[in-house]
């Protein structure tokens, strides 16, 4: 097997080869001789390498040792005022805000904070800066039109009001340090990813994440998957989950709970969101909360050259600093900004996918630093003190195919619906908040994502902060027991152990691939139509009835996968039902059988709630009148960008090609 971008094996003593030679020399002693409890120092081995025999041809060992059992965590019961589930940007800000407000806080994460979920890959961060002359009316005009009149204007106002202080808070925490992009360093010459990482290790935001939380006095339970949120009467009283590596049950007694659990996808295909599997959405749905806007699908792209390889597609997003953005909309450009986003991010990707793609010869490399400032999301303020220069990652193969994370919602559209007047993430269940992308279905970006790069990491932090303060305030006076009832603990124990007791059943990896096969084709989620959606729904319901109850596990790792599969199947059913319900096209939802916007029937959010008999109840929630723009406006002016088939259906002139992503 030839490995990706590995340097030549005979390239002398590059840093990597130098280290490798040292290790090979030491490796000559054999694995048994290397055994011991403490980590060995790489530098010591490097010293040995100087005299080692780099050209001796020592055989590399590429086989793995037997899989050992993982140790159980020392602590299996936690007590706190505020439990934060999820340790990404939303969870981080929630936990810190709750702690600042005087609450005792515990954070639980399925992985390790700083490295789990989508938060390790923000790549850009934007804020609204009135001091640099940003025009709030222009920004609102652009998002209202670009979000195709489904934008939650109250939440967008929260972004305008709080985004700058949020950037400052993250910068104060040491997460926004800037350093040279790799293309401007010596490490570019051989694409030395590891050398570049080492050179910037002292400013690595990922490594700062967890110490930041722990030094604030927040207790962290890593590698622990929450399976259910517990209630004592009406109010929340904690959560129950299990330590994934060991399969150990863990109980969190809490007076309030913030779900900052992200969204999900059915399978990550080149986008690093594999740990997000609709865990929060599943829990919320079963608590009886409405799930909104499932029909709007994310349009992230990867390169055909390596469509499923996240490292190829997102290496610089992780390795380089977070680029600062904003200030890119003015009164003069608001309209063209909105239509540009709709064309480039929605319609071009729809048409590009349906039409098929140009052959990828591997030379189409994207260089963001060479892009115009509008595409980079950089400031137009003209102020030399404005540090929002835009996103300028080092070059990487350009994305040309949609479907990097099938099932993922368009940012901030889908998730728990907290009502049109909510600007807190309060779910209506006493003591329970939702915060962040994928779980708070507030639709701040409407039906698409017309807000420019860098919005997500900022806005999700705002939501976390607000929820953290609210939950702490609630916990300070809550009369709830804050103790999980034993029957809830027993129920979760039975749920996580069920796959272990399955004598005959199905592998969760197989089930994942089957679901992905049902949901990933473009005729299901890009070019939607009733026959294709109904066919997929039938398939998903077969999985729901025949596979999910018989998912089988032999170890804790597979127990996690089985529970995740259950979440994915529920999400898929909701997504298909919501897509069937919205019989129009709007933003990141295109129906070829209804290729036009229908204001009369669909200026609403579609929600799905668990009915009394376990059925899915679909509702339409009309938006506030002052959120939806001028509905009397001429159709072609109100909607300046055409979906395929729309011009014909509406008797409008055919628009020139909307293609924009090119080869």
């Amino acid at each position: 097997m030839s490995n990706f971008m590995d340097e030549s094996r005979s390239d002398g003593l590059s840093r990597r080869a130098f280290l490798r030679a040292g290790s090979l020399a030491a490796g000559g002693l054999g694995l048994m001789a290397l055994s011991g409890c403490a980590p060995q120092e790489a530098s010591e081995k490097t010293d040995t390498a100087a005299t080692g025999d780099a050209a001796s041809g020592e055989t590399r060992v590429t086989t793995e040792l037997a899989i050992p059992a993982a140790a159980a965590p020392e602590k299996t019961t936690y007590d706190c005022d505020v439990l934060v589930i999820g340790g990404g940007f939303a969870g981080l800000n929630a936990a810190m805000a709750a702690k600042d407000a005087g609450a005792s806080v515990v954070m639980v994460d399925k992985g390790n904070p700083g490295y789990s979920g989508l938060s390790p890959w923000p790549s850009s961060h934007r804020w609204f800066d009135p001091d640099m002359g940003d025009d709030a009316d222009a920004f609102k005009k652009a998002i209202t039109m670009g979000g195709e009149y489904l934008v939650n204007q109250n939440w967008y106002q929260m972004w305008i009001d709080h985004s700058k202080e949020t950037y400052q808070r993250l910068a104060d925490w040491g997460l926004m340090d800037r350093y040279d992009r790799c293309a401007d360093t010596e490490y570019w010459n051989d694409l030395d990813f590891q050398g570049y990482y080492d050179a910037n290790a002292s400013v690595d935001r990922h490594a700062r994440w967890l110490p930041l939380i722990e030094e604030a006095g927040i207790e962290v339970a890593p590698f622990t998957m929450v399976v259910d949120v517990a209630r004592d009467g009406d109010a929340v009283c904690g959560a129950v989950g299990f330590h994934v590596p060991s399969g150990t049950l863990v109980t969190f007694n809490a007076k309030s709970v913030i779900m900052a659990m992200g969204g999900g996808c059915y399978k990550p295909t080149g986008y690093p969101v594999g740990g997000n599997t609709f865990d929060g959405e599943y829990i919320a749905y079963n608590l009886g909360l409405p799930i909104a806007n499932k029909e709007f699908d994310d349009f992230h792209v990867t390169t055909s050259y390596a469509s499923g390889n996240s490292f190829v597609d997102n290496q610089w997003d992780w390795l380089e600093n977070i680029w600062l953005c904003g200030g890119d909309i003015t009164a003069d450009t608001a309209e063209s900004y909105a239509t540009g986003k709709e064309k480039a991010m929605v319609v071009a990707r729809v048409t590009g996918t349906i039409d098929g793609m140009a052959v990828n010869d591997g030379t189409n490399i994207e260089d963001q630093a060479a892009a115009d400032i509008g595409r980079r999301g950089g400031t137009l303020s003209g102020n030399e003190d404005d540090i929002r220069i835009g996103k300028m990652l080092s070059p990487k193969p350009k994305g040309d195919c949609y479907g990097a994370a099938v099932g993922m919602q368009s940012h901030f559209s889908g998730g728990v619906f907290c009502g049109l007047d909510d600007v807190e993430g309060a779910t209506g269940i006493p003591g329970l908040w939702v915060a962040g992308d994928g779980i708070n279905g507030c639709a701040v970006t409407g039906s698409a994502y017309p807000v420019g790069v860098g919005f997500t990491s900022n806005f999700t932090s705002i939501q976390g902060h607000i929820a953290g303060e609210a939950a702490a305030k609630y916990a300070a006076s809550a009369s709830t027991s804050g103790k999980v009832p034993q029957d809830t603990i027993d129920a979760v124990k039975a749920e996580i152990e069920a796959p272990l007791n399955q004598e005959k059943g199905f592998s969760p990896d197989w089930a994942r691939d089957e679901l992905h096969g049902i949901m990933s084709p473009f005729w299901v989620l890009v070019d939607k139509s009733e026959p294709a959606l109904k066919a997929a729904l039938t398939q998903v319901q077969q999985m729901r009835d025949k596979v999910v109850p018989k998912l089988q596990a032999t170890n804790p790792h597979q127990q996690r996968l089985c529970i995740e599969m259950k979440h994915k199947v529920l999400s898929a059913e909701m997504k298909l039902r919501a897509s069937l319900e919205r019989q129009e096209s709007r933003g990141a939802h295109y129906r070829s059988d209804f290729p036009y916007r229908d204001d009369d029937n669909f200026l609403c959010y579609i929600t799905i709630t668990k009915g009394d008999k376990g059925d899915m109840v679909i509702d339409r929630v009309p938006l506030k009148q002052d959120w939806v723009g001028d509905t009397k406006q001429d159709y072609a002016t109100r909607y300046a960008v055409r979906f395929p088939g729309e011009a014909k259906a509406k008797g409008l002139p055919e628009e020139e090609s909307t293609g924009g992503w090119g080869k």
Binding site: E58, Y115, W188, D361, A370, P397
Partner: protein
């Protein structure tokens, strides 16, 4: 799957990979002081383990045995290899500079203007 073992001899037992993996792919063998790639079928190919691997024990495979499905995907000719893409990537900054110079020579805006997308 994407993470692969470059050389187990190089593993220094620092547990970086075990600590950062969001997909629960790794375990740690305390007796031998080595990490174990236990569940590569669930690797999301993000490379966090690889980038911070201090002993240089891990590598990233280009090959994707089970994650190639996007919504649709273009054909890729035989000539496209990890090396050819690496070469094109490294050459891109110079190519970008040449394109910018050519655009400027044609009287275009040096800053690149504003496309609105």
């Amino acid at each position: 799957m994407s993470v692969v073992r470059y050389d187990l001899n190089n593993c220094i037992g620092c547990q970086h990979c075990v600590t950062v993996c969001p997909m629960d792919v790794f375990r740690f063998d305390t007796d031998n002081n080595k990490s174990v790639i236990a569940y590569p079928e669930n690797c999301q190919s993000c490379g966090q383990c690889y980038m911070g691997c201090q002993g240089r024990s891990l590598d990233m495979s280009y090959y994707q045995t089970s994650m190639v499905n996007a919504a649709a995907r273009a054909a890729v000719p035989d000539s496209v290899t990890p090396d050819s893409v690496k070469e094109a990537t490294i050459a891109q900054p110079e190519k970008s500079a040449e394109e910018a110079a050519a655009k400027e020579a044609e009287g275009g805006d040096k800053s690149g203007g504003w496309s609105g997308k």
